[in-house]
């Protein structure tokens, strides 16, 4: 499977979960044990309504620490999890 994660700037690792198994690399290589933890988080995220429309599922789920973050998205029955370096923007949210 072609996983174009190399092209993502500041990527530290990736994990792709499909119905038949998982593909991983970088910091997340062979970290399939955390896959279950991610699945739990994703399932919970799907239960939190974001707008009045119940069909509105999340597009992007980010979990952000001081220096790195996980970015999760779902597409075509696959779950893409990317670990990225996090560089906080200089300007505060205004």
């Amino acid at each position: 499977m072609a996983v174009p994660f190399d092209r993502i700037p500041d990527s530290l690792g990736y994990l792709v979960l499909t119905e038949d198994g998982a593909v991983s690399g970088g910091d997340l290589e062979n970290k399939e044990d955390v896959a279950n933890q991610f699945m739990n988080i994703i399932q919970t995220a799907l239960r939190i309504p974001l707008s009045s429309s119940k069909k509105d599922k999340f597009k992007k789920l980010s979990i952000v620490w001081d220096n790195f973050m996980y970015v999760i998205t779902i597409s075509a029955h696959k779950i893409y999890i990317c670990k990225r370096r996090f560089i906080p923007p200089d300007a505060a949210m205004a």
Partner: protein, 89 residues
């Protein structure tokens, strides 16, 4: 945070904030304002707890769940978990 402060956050602070929710360590709702519904409190606390467990040695992360219709930011702070709903820009 009192409900009055939650009101203030909704009214005066950052524009685009559509709702605020606070839960305790049992996932019980301490307060919900704006678009936030009290029933969500358990899930908010749960996701904050699960995400923090990914890296137990680090302070709890910020969780951002984004969709076209709106987004929510969640952070656990001590025993309290807080969620801030944002409407799309």
């Amino acid at each position: 945070m009192s409900t009055k402060e939650m009101d203030a956050l909704l009214r005066f602070r950052l524009p685009g904030i559509a709702g605020v929710i606070c839960t305790d360590e049992h996932g019980l709702c301490l307060g919900a304002k704006g678009v936030a519904t009290r029933e969500t409190s358990g899930h908010i606390a749960n996701i904050a707890e699960s995400a923090a467990r990914l890296n137990p040695n680090l302070p709890p992360p910020v969780i951002a769940i984004e969709s076209e219709g709106g987004s929510i930011l969640i952070k656990k702070e001590g025993t309290i978990t807080m969620g801030i709903y944002k409407s799309p820009n």
